[in-house]
């Protein structure tokens, strides 16, 4: 119960931010960071808790984005419905890719490769298919009304993405405390031992992938509502696949708050780097991200959350030791 309380506190604290005197630049930064966090939360379910490292999560992001965009731009579907269908499409892709790959028993390196390949196939298809606007991409018409899931002020977009992140936090927390979550983690630690205890590893991984796909797709749907434009590179490009895995790993794989923490820190560092470089510095932020990834794996594999819990343990331990001395 107290874990859900922690989630609520964090969300409420973050919800208050736009009410303070913050600039649009800051809000924009936070909105994008939260969107990346959401994509990372999706990755975290499959990779952090399930131990299946996908290198092609852009496949879900892009699918959510394109479905949302194309349904609105070409078929005049209501934005809210298009958003929901985008999430459903992400779940469906998760089921397909998961069904195919897990049935073949692919794990580890091979799984990473296959997911990378799927994302690439989708990217190429999207860059030539007429329905997606091919190379030109798809534009969604500007219509700043809540009915079209577009808002006049940044603050409202901020609360929208925050709401999505909050839902993902709750879902992750629920998973962590449930039977499914325990089985998922068991599969991650030792698939054979889990099977010997009655865990249907394939079904567990598949469900994790479906949830993962849905959450990351939601980030893609949001992208479209906020930026009103999508093309194959933005949707299915490797940048998103990398950010989706980077943020949970840096923040702490297999933890509820890891992706959120990771996204904020990584984005902040990226912005910082751009500022120092004085504006135009293509690729500099990704260089920093890559270095951080290597450094984290090297020195702090449990990420920032792992570091925080080590710190807390040390403080608790020294506090009780001090008590014992004085008591």
């Amino acid at each position: 119960m107290k874990e859900f309380g922690a989630v609520a506190i964090v969300i409420i604290a973050m919800a208050v931010v736009p009410l303070l005197a913050v600039s649009n630049v800051t809000l924009n930064f936070l909105i994008v960071a939260l969107m990346i966090a959401l994509a990372g939360q999706g990755w975290n379910v499959l990779g952090g808790y399930g131990g299946q490292y996908s290198f092609g999560h852009a496949a879900f992001f892009g699918t959510g984005a394109y479905v949302t965009a194309v349904l609105q731009a070409r078929y005049g579907v209501n934005a809210w419905i298009a958003f929901g269908l985008g999430i459903a499409a992400g779940a469906l892709i998760g089921a397909i890719v998961g069904g195919l790959t897990f049935r073949s028993g692919l794990r580890g390196s091979y799984f990473a490769l296959v997911t990378l390949a799927f994302a690439e196939v989708l990217r190429i298809l999207a860059s030539v298919a007429p329905i997606t606007g091919a190379g030109v991409g798809t534009l969604v018409k500007l219509d700043l009304r809540p009915a079209s899931l577009q808002f006049q002020s940044r603050a409202e977009f901020y609360w929208m993405i925050l709401a999505l992140v909050a839902i993902a936090l709750f879902v992750t927390q629920l998973i962590e405390r449930s039977r499914f979550g325990v089985w998922l983690v068991a599969v991650r630690e030792n698939e054979d031992a889990a099977a010997a205890l009655g865990v249907n590893a394939m079904a567990v991984k598949l469900i994790a992938m479906i949830i993962s796909g849905a959450i990351t797709a939601a980030a893609g749907c949001f992208y479209v509502q906020y930026f009103l434009f999508i093309d194959s590179g933005l949707a299915y490009g490797t940048w998103m696949s990398i950010e989706a895995l980077l943020t949970p790993i840096i923040g702490g794989v297999g933890t509820v708050f890891g992706p959120l923490l990771g996204a904020l820190v990584v984005r902040a560092l990226g912005q910082g780097a751009q500022l120092i470089a004085g504006g135009e510095a293509p690729g500099l932020d990704l260089v920093i991200y890559g270095c951080i990834l290597v450094l984290i794996i090297w020195f702090a594999p449990r990420g920032l959350m792992g570091g925080l819990s080590r710190l807390r343990n040390r403080l608790l331990f020294s506090a009780s030791a001090a008590e014992a001395r004085h008591g």
Binding site: V185, A193, A195, A196, V199
Partner: protein, 250 residues
């Protein structure tokens, strides 16, 4: 014997040119302790892998409670009530002892509270109570063996396959473990144990199968099997029985 719990019928498993298990037939009765012994490389662990679904037999059938379960996946067999421990213990290293056992407990209980109760109960019976919230990776060898047993027990099996659960334990740890195993059998769980620790085999097992080079070469009570020339020769080499003298043929 009454209707056997497990009936293995002429099961073979080959790996390329090697017959690891060769036309093995055996029957396990409910609620009894059976030992499976034999020299190293005899195929004992392979047989366990076949019974628990980790390997498919090349030929032969395996029936559990009169149903043909040949070739079923391990998780299905676990749900039917066949549990196993691994020779090289396989804890979920990154999890606590509690969470390790919880994985097994969740098989029969869907709510967290009920499953936790089962975990506490089993941990208590196996002396793991004080260690429940420690990471599994910090346990000693004896502790890990108990954890391995606890995980399997949490699935509430009817047939428990113990693969060298006493290996690596010192004499006092072995002495402590034996009543635990006996108590399991008293709860109605049929146990098949692969063991090299002969004192355990002699005092615990009601029936013994001897496996050598993939075949069953002898079976019977522990004392019958110990007196069997074929068994002595399998362990000590051809002609050893005669050299030892005073051993009667089966």
């Amino acid at each position: 014997m009454a209707e056997p719990l497990l009936q293995v019928e002429r099961v073979s498993r080959r790996f390329g040119g090697l017959m690891a298990v060769n036309a093995v037939s055996l029957a396990i009765a409910e609620g009894r302790i059976t030992a499976l012994i034999g020299p190293n490389g005899a195929g004992k662990t392979t047989l366990f892998a076949l019974i628990s679904g980790f390997l498919k037999p090349s030929t032969g059938t395996i029936c559990y409670r009169r149903e043909d379960v040949t070739g079923e996946a391990p998780y299905r067999l676990a749900r039917r009530g066949i549990a196993r421990t691994f020779q090289i213990v396989q804890p979920f290293g990154g999890l606590t002892v509690r969470d390790n056992i919880l994985v097994g407990a969740y098989l029969r209980h869907t709510t967290r509270d009920r499953a936790q109760e089962v975990v506490e109960e089993i941990a208590g019976k196996l002396g793991l109570g004080p260690m429940l919230d420690r990471p599994a990776a910090t346990l000693t060898v004896a502790g890990r063996k108990r954890l391995e047993l606890a995980k399997a027990l949490a699935t509430e099996p009817k047939l428990l396959l113990l693969d060298e659960v006493l290996a690596g334990l010192n004499p006092s740890e072995i002495r402590d473990m034996m009543p635990v195993i006996r108590a399991l059998c008293q709860r109605g769980i049929a146990i098949v144990m692969i063991e090299h620790v002969m004192q355990a085999v002699m005092s615990l097992a009601e029936h013994v199968f001897v496996l050598a080079e993939g075949r069953i070469i002898s079976e019977g009570t522990p004392s019958q099997v110990a007196a069997d020339t074929a068994v002595v020769e399998a362990y000590l080499g051809h002609g050893a029985a005669a050299r030892l003298g005073g051993v009667h043929a089966h």
